[in-house]
């Protein structure tokens, strides 16, 4: 969630009240924003740091927070934004070249006339653009904004896409003109701009905006020209917006003009610009300030809020949330709702319903425990099974541990004297693409690394240590939609002055007894006498010391005998890899076979 810093004194002045911390907390809580920090005493002037819901682009600046809270408090009506053509009546025009389709196809713009900047307003205007770029515009990749002193420029304008060598101008805060190609090198190390370069760097043409004198306004999404640079003295502002996403282009346009048109000579008016873009049928007059109209059902709102409010009351509630709602003259249940351009977050009647509930007060809603007719309680079979193994192991004197499921390839394979399965083999591990922590390379395929790391971190503990885990490992599985599956395993480790082979063996016997699986003595590979049950056979397994490793076999009624796990004394090289000075024995088996 974005956090917006606003001047405390100025905000309280705008809200017409000097709030105490508790009062302002309460207001934020009811509205659904959060006062994160008050820097009073640490910063001059004191700032309030306010967390804003991620979809409220209309609250990313001081002006938006003050507006929404004032409307919510009933201190101000939601303004009506109107288009006001220039005195002469002839609109500025921007012609969009078809070549832009290849790199950044959508364009929008607007003019704010007679703006009165103060240092605070100017800073807020710049900060809002930064916030929009960072959040909604996904680091300028979807949308980029350029703002200019219109009085330094001469219309008509054009939005073009040209090879970078043909674009030449002095970028913002630079006196030297350079080509767009040179700029890519010039800003390569720039800590602010470098991250935007890849958005267009490899494109054969770069997007660029010119005025009638071929003065460059912007090279979106990288930088504006220095010529039309905005200053505190600027009064007429030309805003250009380019995008790869048409919906977000309109949202950004709306937010910018709605937030700052209040400072225009004629407040809340915006001068339209004619955009000529016939190649993609995007020719229009920009911006479109028409509120979106929709309908909401009073019965629907009442049924979810648990209220029975008349339509007129609902319209009053919605007014506090910036809507203009009126009872429909034609339908007895319907509200005609106009959604202002600032409320891009409203997608469905449900959003209107929620706003009505917020305006009413979440904490004033009638609370009733729902008498649902849902089916009765049931535990997931694999969890029931796992709990038997867990409880029996703990009762047998072993301590449960919960290591992580993400680990490195080495921990999972090499350190256990195994190698990762080749591409043709079964039981391949799931590999991660982008871990922030380098050691998280795969999802574990064995519980052993986690147990051994837990022992390693507990060398201060008295020996012997007896630990176990019942948890999921995961493998690739090409047959499934997710191309992978979890498998519930049980593993235990004994660590002490002696290797404890009989101890893990005894734990296996105990758990099998509790699962009503009997021990049967058998010859190799399950051949020979004996019915259902489990048995063990010596096995060669590089994880374990030769001659001290056993494979566990299980035969259940009506099923084929299968190997379900292994146990043994760990090979000294495994102990060394996990930095364990004493011997240890481990056990690991698949629990799902008992389902």
């Amino acid at each position: 969630m974005p956090t917006i810093s606003v001047d405390k004194t100025e905000l309280y002045k705008a809200l017409g009240k000097d709030y105490s911390r508790d009062e302002f907390d309460e207001l934020c809580f009811e509205f659904g924003i959060e006062l994160d920090e008050d820097t009073t005493g640490r910063e001059e002037p004191a700032q309030l740091k306010i967390e804003i819901p991620a979809n409220r682009y209309d609250m990313l600046c001081f002006e938006g927070i003050a507006l929404n809270l004032n409307v919510f408090l009933g201190r101000q009506a939601m303004p009506t934004y109107t288009l006001k053509p220039p005195p002469g009546g002839a609109l500025e025009t921007v012609t969009v070249s078809p070549a832009t389709a290849a790199v950044r196809p959508y364009f929008s713009c607007a003019i704010l006339r007679g703006v009165q900047f103060t240092p605070a307003r100017y800073a807020s205007f710049i900060a809002l653009q930064d916030k929009l770029h960072a959040n909604l515009a996904r680091q300028r990749s979807l949308v980029a904004i350029g703002t200019h002193d219109l009085d330094t420029l001469q219309g008509p304008f054009s939005y073009e896409a040209l090879p970078p060598d043909q674009i030449r101008f002095a970028p913002l805060n630079q006196t030297r003109a350079m080509t767009a190609t040179e700029m890519m090198g010039f800003y390569e190390k720039d800590k602010h701009l470098a991250r935007y370069l890849p958005i267009i760097r490899d494109s054969p043409v770069y997007p660029v905006i010119y005025d009638a004198n071929r003065t460059v306004l912007s090279l979106p999404p990288i930088i504006n020209g220095n010529h039309s640079k905005l200053t505190l003295a600027t009064t007429n502002i030309f805003i250009d917006i380019t995008a790869t996403d048409k919906t977000k282009l309109e949202i950004v346009t709306h937010i910018l003009v709605a937030m700052f048109s209040q400072y225009c000579a004629d407040p809340f008016t915006i001068e339209p610009v004619r955009i000529l873009s016939p190649h993609n049928t995007e020719s229009r007059t920009s911006p479109d300030l028409t509120p979106r109209t929709t309908h909401a059902s009073a019965a629907y709102i009442n049924s979810i809020t648990g209220l029975s409010l008349p339509r007129t009351t609902i319209t009053t509630l919605l007014k506090k949330m910036c809507y203009h709602a009126t009872p429909s003259p034609t339908s007895p249940d319907t509200l005609d709702v106009a959604i202002p351009i600032t409320r891009a977050d409203v997608l469905h009647e449900a959003d209107i319903m929620e706003d009505a509930a917020i305006a009413y007060g979440f904490n004033k809603l009638p609370r009733a425990f729902p008498a649902t007719k849902a089916a009765a309680a049931a535990a997931l079979p694999i969890n029931k099974l796992a709990d038997i193994v867990r409880l029996e192991s703990a009762m047998a004197g072993w301590a449960e541990v919960m290591p992580l499921t993400l680990c490195s390839l080495d921990e999972n394979y090499q350190w256990l004297n195994k190698s990762p399965p080749s591409s043709s083999e079964q039981q391949k591990p799931i590999r991660l693409q982008n871990p922030k922590t380098a050691e998280y390379q795969i999802v574990r395929t064995s519980l052993l690394p986690g147990l051994l790391k837990t022992l390693r971190e507990n060398k201060h503990h008295a020996v012997p240590m007896r630990i176990f885990e019942v948890g999921d490992v995961a493998f690739q599985d090409a047959r499934l939609e997710r191309r992978s599956r979890n498998e519930r395993h049980f593993a235990a480790a004994w660590y002490g002055k002696q290797a404890g082979f009989e101890m893990v063996h005894g734990l296996l016997d105990r758990v099998m007894m509790m699962l009503r699986v009997g021990f049967v003595a058998r010859g190799g590979e399950g051949k020979g006498e004996g019915g259902e049950g489990y048995w063990i056979e010596e096995v060669e397994d590089a994880t374990y010391l030769a001659g001290h490793a056993a494979a566990i076999y299980l035969q259940l009624a009506g099923r084929k005998a299968q190997k379900i796990g292994t146990f043994g004394i760990l090979h000294p090289s495994v102990l060394k890899a996990f930095e364990l000075p004493f011997p240890a024995s481990t056990l690991e088996l698949n629990v799902e076979v008992f389902l």
Binding site: F362, A379, G397, R482
Partner: protein, 540 residues
């Protein structure tokens, strides 16, 4: 030592004689016995052990005196034996009559000290490059003072202590001495005592006359109980599960760490450009490279069917008598996908949608699930085959591509509940959560409007925390968006609550753990696992 059996004591031996018996003799003969005087050669620990043995039987009582005594250092003892350094220099010069300053006898460090002191005392003087005596007889005061110390372990004039200590001739040491006398159960002999009732004693009847040693009621009992232990996180998890079962919830099949972009995001109406889907926040899977198209999960279905079967009586298994046994609709996954796609890109089901070009590759990307809501989504879609009230929950592991620190791990456990029913209200969700959290000892719930892409309304849940004296966030909740539910094919009037919290946070609060790495993962202290108390959430 715990577990010791049979008669005691084994007496402490002092040389050939039994110190315990010696003390008994001394106390018998004297009204008061000072151990440092009576047993000057016995070590303090031996004396204490013997006294305690007798005092525990109330045969004697004693007090402890702490005092300080002055003792000679090695150098101090040497002066007592041979005379002070200045005396030795004077004596040598006197005997020689005249001694060259370069004489080897004056070269030692102690001789240099002695020479200086002898000058000051005017016992000798320099004559050219030699020393000559000034007097025929001297009084060696240093030696006399130290001789007093050797005899009395104290100084006649306490002001000398600082000076002598500085000269490292004496030092002080703490001495503990005991003043013992007869106790309430005085006896001349130590009775044979038994510490435990044994089978032999029962057999021969000796328990009737046995003298049982008094039990030490101030000590702990046997500590090595051969304990096994459950992990505290799983203990808290179990408490949550009990609450869910108590409230009639069915556990969801969460056995898939890897899920698809479709189930984890798109089906939840999370737009494809949402920040949560950034590489910075979500673990993407590189191998296997891509998911299959959305479809049924046979393993999950089998588990859900088995649990639903559990709850069905034999008598009413006849389909027509049960409303939930209406013929089930076929779940058309291709239609579901098309609905989700349309809802995002063009708007559908009364929503204008996000209106961006939907990328069909995104739902096929494999991720480590960022929330168990991916599973809830699967279960809710399954419900569309036979729409009916349902209550589901899960507690399982989820993954976030976080930089690991004291409060963040790349994996943690999410507790999640879902309730589907007709005519649910927002206040009903509040009422439900009030009951749910009350079982955890959390009351005074308040709800704050919040934003979540897949719930509308969304509410953060706060409770008053007595320890912190303020409202703290304890979970998230909401009603799933129509865009999500209607795309599944659920009827419009079937509404669905969702709520969730992490398992780690309440556990950390419960057990006072500040660093999540000390709770989940291999850095946990086994002693902590073995020693943590039962959960008892209602006793918060």
């Amino acid at each position: 030592m715990p577990g010791t059996r049979g008669p005691v004591p084994v007496p402490v031996q002092n040389g050939d004689r039994d110190l315990t018996l010696q003390i008994l003799e001394a106390v018998d003969e004297n009204a008061s016995v000072k151990t440092s005087e009576t047993f000057p050669n016995a070590s303090q620990t031996e004396v204490k052990a013997a006294l305690d043995r007798l005092a525990s039987r109330q045969m004697i009582e004693y007090e402890t005196d702490d005092s300080e005594e002055v003792v000679l250092t090695g150098e101090g003892q040497q002066i007592v034996d041979e005379g002070s350094h200045e005396f030795k220099v004077w004596d040598a010069v006197r005997k020689a009559g005249r001694m060259s300053l370069k004489d080897q006898a004056l070269a030692t460090p102690s001789a240099k000290v002695g020479q200086g002191n002898a000058f000051k005392l005017k016992w000798i003087k320099k004559d050219g490059d030699s020393l000559i005596p000034l007097t025929d007889s001297v009084t060696d005061t240093t030696r006399e003072v130290l001789q007093y110390v050797a005899e009395h372990r104290a100084l006649q004039n306490p002001r000398d202590l600082k000076d002598l200590r500085k000269r490292t001739l004496v030092t002080t040491q703490k001495i503990i001495t005991y003043d013992a006398r007869k106790g309430p159960r005085w006896a001349r002999d130590i009775p044979v005592e038994v510490t435990d009732l044994t089978a032999d004693m029962l057999a021969d009847g000796s328990w009737k006359t046995a003298n049982f040693k008094p039990y030490n009621f101030k000590a702990l009992g046997e500590q090595s109980q051969g304990v096994g232990a459950l992990h505290p996180l799983n203990k808290v998890r179990e408490e949550f599960r009990k609450i869910f079962f108590n409230l009639g919830f069915t556990e969801m099949p969460t056995g898939r760490f890897v899920d698809t972009g479709f189930w984890n995001f798109d089906a939840l109406f999370v737009p494809q450009q949402h920040p949560a889907r950034d590489m910075q926040d979500t673990f993407y899977v590189s191998d296997p490279p891509e998911a299959g198209p959305p479809g049924p999960d046979p393993e999950a279905d089998a588990a859900l069917n088995a649990m639903e079967e559990e709850d069905r009586d034999e008598e009413d298994s006849d389909p027509p008598t049960r409303p939930t046994q209406q013929p089930t609709k076929h779940l058309d996954y291709a239609q579901y996908y098309a609905n989700v796609r349309a809802t995002h890109q063009d708007g559908a089901f009364g929503s204008i949608g996000y209106r961006y070009p939907y990328n069909d590759a995104e739902p096929r990307r494999l991720v480590l699930r960022t929330h168990t809501t991916a599973v809830s989504t699967y279960c809710l879609h399954r419900l569309a085959a036979n729409p009916r009230p349902a209550k589901y929950f899960s507690i399982d592991r989820v993954f976030r591509n976080e930089t690991v620190d004291a409060t963040h791990l790349a994996e943690f456990h999410q507790v999640e509940g879902v309730i589907a029913d007709y005519g649910l209200t927002l206040g009903g969700l509040q009422g439900f959560l009030r009951r749910f959290f009350k079982k955890m000892g959390l009351v005074g719930l308040k709800f704050k409007p919040a934003y979540n892409p897949y719930t509308e309304p969304s509410m953060e849940v706060f409770a008053y925390h007595r320890g912190l004296g303020k409202l703290v966030e304890i979970g998230n909740s909401g009603m799933f968006r129509p865009e999500m539910l209607l795309a599944m094919g659920l009827p419009e009037d079937l509404r669905v609550y969702g709520f969730g919290l992490s398992l780690e946070r309440p556990t950390m609060i419960k057990y006072g753990v500040n660093n999540i790495r000390e709770l989940l993962g291999h850095k946990v202290d086994l002693g902590f696992i073995e020693g943590n108390a039962a959960v008892r959430l209602d006793k918060a």
